[in-house]
Subunit: 499 residues, 2 copies
């Protein structure tokens, strides 16, 4: 057959056949064929897609990935023969049928995902199966090890690598405070962070206001060795290709199987050589983990799986009932974290950052048992953490070094209390939604600043929150939404009146 090249990355190994050729070969869409380049005998197995239009009879359409493997050019001749099924498919089917998978079976599947051999259909069937059937602890360990084996690694010649990870929090940029505290003690903290998916900002989004976050492996390694800490965007580093592909499937379905969360987090930590990790599990009505039992179960699994892959883990369950820090939005959260580092604020974000830093310092023996928090607070209040953070910003191609230089969106609207009262509940989901309507995360300067937390007394006319919007239209839309969906509720003395 003659090759017709398409200059597109398909994200998987695909061969487009004309309906008549497919019939003759006895293959259907989704079957696999072996393609041999007649010029150089290079071979490749691809998944068949069938068309009536894109190619003519006796022509096969190939995308970048297959073109690369076969070193083939438009018009070249190839031989195509049907091949058997991948072993992975038997294992996926086994999991769909409710049986547990062995390490060998899981690692075969992960290898096939990593090397683009599975179609979206096949990979989705697997993810759906681990979502619906669950993964037991052995499978979670197998998955973690498989992801580690398939991923890339950053290795450091000397130094102890530590890390922290928060599972499904909402706002607050503890990472931007913890990393410099830890790095200033001589430990290494090469942090790869995510961008926002459903929140107002991710750590990578916030850090990007101050410095570059699209760093490659070499840069991350160099900065960590020189400065001790770095905050990069994980998406720019190809550390866990299989995991990235799994997340690409989980995202549109908005599913997040518990075992996969654990495997994914720990494999990423392992890829940068972390030996000590604090896992933060916020529990609350408006965050990912709704109840303490789930958090405790996950915490235990994190510790157990960590042990199996050579990591010391401390999983802490934290209060996710209220926001952590008062800012929502990339720039506002960056500004806020800088203010904490500059000593202008010490609130629940600072408290959490020092507690988590303290846990890490105690784990590695930098601080005596029970003295970690104090040590972290001392580093923060002395200004050492701020100095270290500025070093990090500089090493990452620094843009902004001081909280008063952080830009915020010009269109603002203040919301004030209509009566006296005590704040009973803060709906962080609604606060996030308002920030997103105002323009975050695509606009970095947009967002929302909060002025009161749960339990605080409020007088009529007190400022509750301010919306920062990218333009007038978005300000009006966010305002409207906020009036309709008040993110605050007040404590009531009279709960009910009988008339």
């Amino acid at each position: 057959m003659k090759v017709k090249t398409f200059p597109i990355n398909a994200g998987k190994l695909v061969a487009i056949l004309h309906k008549i050729d497919a019939e003759e070969l006895g293959v259907m869409a989704g079957d696999r064929v072996e393609i041999v380049n007649k010029n150089n005998q290079k071979t490749c197995v691809a998944v068949v897609d069938i068309t009536n239009y894109a190619v003519v009879v006796d022509q096969v359409g190939l995308f970048e990935e297959v073109i690369e493997k076969l070193k083939v050019k438009n018009g070249n001749k190839v031989n195509i023969t049907p091949t058997g099924q991948l072993k992975s498919l038997d294992y996926i089917k086994k999991k769909m049928n409710g049986e547990s998978l062995t390490f060998e079976e899981i690692s075969t599947i992960v290898k096939d995902i990593s090397e683009d051999r599975l179609s979206d259909i096949e990979a989705t069937a697997f993810i759906s199966a681990i979502y619906m059937r669950g993964m037991d602890i052995d499978e979670t360990i197998s998955m973690t090890k498989s992801l580690i084996n398939e991923g890339n690694k950053i290795e450091f010649k000397k130094g102890i690598v530590v890390d922290k990870h928060s599972v499904g929090g909402v706002n607050g940029r503890a990472t931007m405070i913890i990393t410099p505290i830890i790095a200033s003690t001589g430990l290494l903290m090469p942090k790869t962070s995510s961008r926002s998916i459903t929140s107002a900002a991710g750590t990578a989004d916030s850090m990007e206001v101050l410095a570059e976050v699209c760093l490659n492996v070499d840069k991350i390694k160099k900065i960590t060795e020189n400065v001790g800490g770095v905050i990069a965007w994980g998406g720019a580093v190809d550390l866990a290709p299989a995991d990235d592909k799994i997340i690409k499937i989980e995202h549109p379905l908005s599913i997040d199987p518990e075992g996969q969360v654990i495997a994914s987090v720990l494999a990423k930590k392992a890829s940068v050589g972390s030996k000590y990790v604090v896992i933060d599990l916020p529990v609350g009505k408006y965050v990912k983990i709704k109840d303490k039992d789930t958090a405790i179960r996950m915490a235990k699994k994190f510790v157990q799986v960590g042990k199996e892959v050579g990591m010391k883990i401390e999983a802490v369950i934290t209060n996710g009932e209220e926001p952590c820090g008062m800012a929502f939005g990339s720039a506002l959260e960056a500004k806020y974290a800088l203010e904490v580092l500059e000593g202008k604020r010490f609130d629940n974000l600072a408290q959490k950052s020092c507690e988590l830093s303290g846990a890490l310092l105690e784990m590695v023996g930098k601080a005596q048992h029970g003295k970690g928090f104090e040590m972290a607070r001392e580093i923060l209040e002395s200004g050492k953490a701020l100095e270290k953070f500025k070093e990090m910003i500089k090493a990452q191609g620094g843009k902004i070094y001081s909280s008063d230089k952080v830009p915020t969106a010009p269109y603002t609207k203040e919301f004030k209390a209509g009566a006296d009262g005590v704040i009973d509940e803060l709906n962080t989901k609604l606060l996030t939604k308002i920030a997103r309507i105002a323009g975050s995360p695509s606009n970095k300067t947009a967002g929302l600043m909060l002025y009161k937390l749960v339990g605080e007394k409020v007088k009529e006319g007190d400022l509750l929150f301010t919306i920062h919007a990218e333009n007038k239209e978005k300000l009006i839309a966010a305002e409207k939404f906020a009036y309709k969906n008040l993110p605050f509720s007040f404590k009531r003395i009279i709960l009910h009146t009988i008339r």
Copy 2:
């Protein structure tokens, strides 16, 4: 953004964005965006795919389906905005979580599948969910009704439409005998058949040896009205687009959720207006349904669901332990069916064909209760069925009208009994495999002829089966396989010897 067109059918509505644009829009791969053509204000919702290569910044890559909807040309400008999730996704998630779906929910999903709004990932999650969670009877009814609503229909002005369907048999072309028997009584039988997937031949493959089977809706309608019967390839008729898409996902996973089988079969029967249908459920070690309990459960569901969509169903459980007829392969099976119609043979294929025809004749009242089989046999033996079949062949652009004109592959190898004995078991899976190695179904003349059935006495040197291969290489390969994996086993008197 500027449009870059790709002249490819993607099989779904896709928009390819550059990584930087996707980030700015705040969308990830798998999210949905609304695209508005600035020239004519036509809109379309598409699933985002992200690339670094295929398009540049401020450019969106569109495939045929979206190009068609937007009436857009290469270089045109479009506006792109993120949109919310489809409702279908909530329902798919609900099913994944083990809850039952209502009719409205299932029909929303089926509509979205039918109109290409769901990505492969989303559709696969749904199919996986109905496979792992199962569909209860109400869901099966909802699915059947939804597939009927989304499909196309052939309507006949007069006449009673009947049909038969076999669930997962192996060989034998009862359809080629039943259709002319039924058609010669004045009933209408517009049969859409499948091609082989795992067998040596499908009915459409076999019929294609004698006549054209790629017929459109108009032709099927016209031939049925003129002749009474037709045997077309279902794949060439766009009667059930949603079902075809579901099968495209089931196939690579080789899953076939029970409820979906029922819905799929009955929706296809409804699309041609069938009112009376016999469902044949072969049970045996080497066919799809392995045990009688499963067959009985499915049979009851077929009847119940049929009633809900206005169809009278009789589901019969048949013996799938041995082949039905002695031929394996498109041409050999066509030749064999013709021989039955020509009165040259009356064996288990003829018996089954008359029994199923008889059941249909009794259902519609053409034959008295208990007299259907005799009536069918009379039609077959009188030669009326053969005459009708020749009319059908002619109407379908006939090629071959007589069994002695059917070509068979020239390379043959006979397998003879090495000793006297009684045949204990026939492995139809192995027989099929041998036929496939010899070249079927892609080569129509290749296959295998069998000469003995279970229970028959065999003398040393008696012919057991003959392989017909497309060429010498395939003959040798099929021979080798047959020697290694004998499809026959003989009854033993001495089962075990103690020495």
